[in-house]
Symmetry: D2
Subunit: 156 residues, 4 copies
Amino acid sequence: MTQTTFQLTPELVKAAQAAMRSRDRDEIAKYWDPGVRFLVPGNHPYAGWREGLDEFMSFHNKLVELSGGSIRMEMFSVLVNEDGYSIDMNRCHATRVGAAPDSTSPYDQMRFEGVDVLKWENGRVVEGYAAIFGEGMTNWNLFLSPVTGDGHHVAV
Amino acid sequence: MTQTTFQLTPELVKAAQAAMRSRDRDEIAKYWDPGVRFLVPGNHPYAGWREGLDEFMSFHNKLVELSGGSIRMEMFSVLVNEDGYSIDMNRCHATRVGAAPDSTSPYDQMRFEGVDVLKWENGRVVEGYAAIFGEGMTNWNLFLSPVTGDGHHVAV
Amino acid sequence: MTQTTFQLTPELVKAAQAAMRSRDRDEIAKYWDPGVRFLVPGNHPYAGWREGLDEFMSFHNKLVELSGGSIRMEMFSVLVNEDGYSIDMNRCHATRVGAAPDSTSPYDQMRFEGVDVLKWENGRVVEGYAAIFGEGMTNWNLFLSPVTGDGHHVAV
Amino acid sequence: MTQTTFQLTPELVKAAQAAMRSRDRDEIAKYWDPGVRFLVPGNHPYAGWREGLDEFMSFHNKLVELSGGSIRMEMFSVLVNEDGYSIDMNRCHATRVGAAPDSTSPYDQMRFEGVDVLKWENGRVVEGYAAIFGEGMTNWNLFLSPVTGDGHHVAV
């Protein structure tokens, strides 16, 4: 695939995110560069730059594991431009595996809106950064906190 | 101005942000709805929803005041879409007024990249949210912290 | 009262804390120096050094106000020494005024254990620092947060 | 050693902390119960309850490793009481291994005052909690942060 044949469209962004959610490496590699780096937001043990597709996929797998598969992301708008950037806006929610079903604690329930900023080259994502709006950031940090609300250390 | 005559372009976004930086209320009101609400990111005394143009402008004025006018924002890419959203990506830096000139403390020096998400109706911004990437968020919270690094309470 | 007549005992510490809870200024002034400074823990609009008895009392009054009078502190052990320090260990809980009665949110419910370290001179407290154990600190910061869990700005 | 022969004194507390700093397991076991649990303050990958002497020692060893052996703790006052509690007050500082020598970043330089609360039974410590005053807590969290100031993920 060459730069000339590559069209950055909302449909392409949706396909790339659906591929990542599928957890099928061959499907993912159609849209995400093997050298992709991604900045996970917040300050917690999974935060910071994930270098390469494997490290980035392992972060996604961790979110699935921590949420017992309950994590859901609803993309409600997508933007693209001629600089090679896409930004998809998302609502995300998840419940921690093992949480009491009626717990409303931010350590157990995650709910936020945010963006995924993706930089594309030659039809694939080469760099990305996520960001979260408002107190969704505090919720995200506590959901991924290395210590529970009652002070138990979480192995990471 | 009616919906039919309104074209959401990167140029319009740049003009809206330049107007806000000008601090000229008449100029600002061309682009920002009087009822605009804006979600300031982070957890600090200026965080959360600012309701209405006056409250939002007073937040901008506070940033200018705290930084002794040193705050700079460099917009490096803009995206717009047909849902009425614009997102501008920015690098921002500032030095706190009164900081020692060589201080590198995150309470004194602010430097981050982030996005402003704006929702437009009838040619004006009606809602917005900012978000910050990576540890820029920690830097932002400490720059706007109600307590200094050596523990002095800051009146807000 | 002179240094020679002053005996730092657990009973004196209990009397000083009871006086502060009474909110009776004359009673308080028996145990707390007019120039007392106190370091409120955490990073929130009431954190940092409170300088002088009036500023310190206004912090206590704020806690009573924010909790609709529900704040309770149970002292479970007291230590004193010959350097003029006392440390009382406390369990503290409060419910934010206006919170839904069944809310378990850390923005609404405060529950922690911590210490008050007091330095005594001539029979009165001249300096103090509080500190909180474990995730009680996160709870304290969210209870006193300038932004609610759903992002509303709180005037402080 | 039986309860009747055990005297909780400042000298015993100093000996117990000196033993922990020696990193000599036999020496440590004279003062610290094999089943001791200790609540490490803050929200970072080493925070929360450390269960048992080995887990607690491995936390101390981690601090030595992260600071390249530079960590220093100066005990400036000790309190004990008849409930079996000791509290030692400390000033602590450290420089992260690999930090630029002139870095003043809170991710690289740690400096705080705080307390170690220890509960003694039969001459040995069975439970403890540390707490940190003021913005020393923010410094501690950033020094032990799983992400550097420029966003690099730190393996923990």
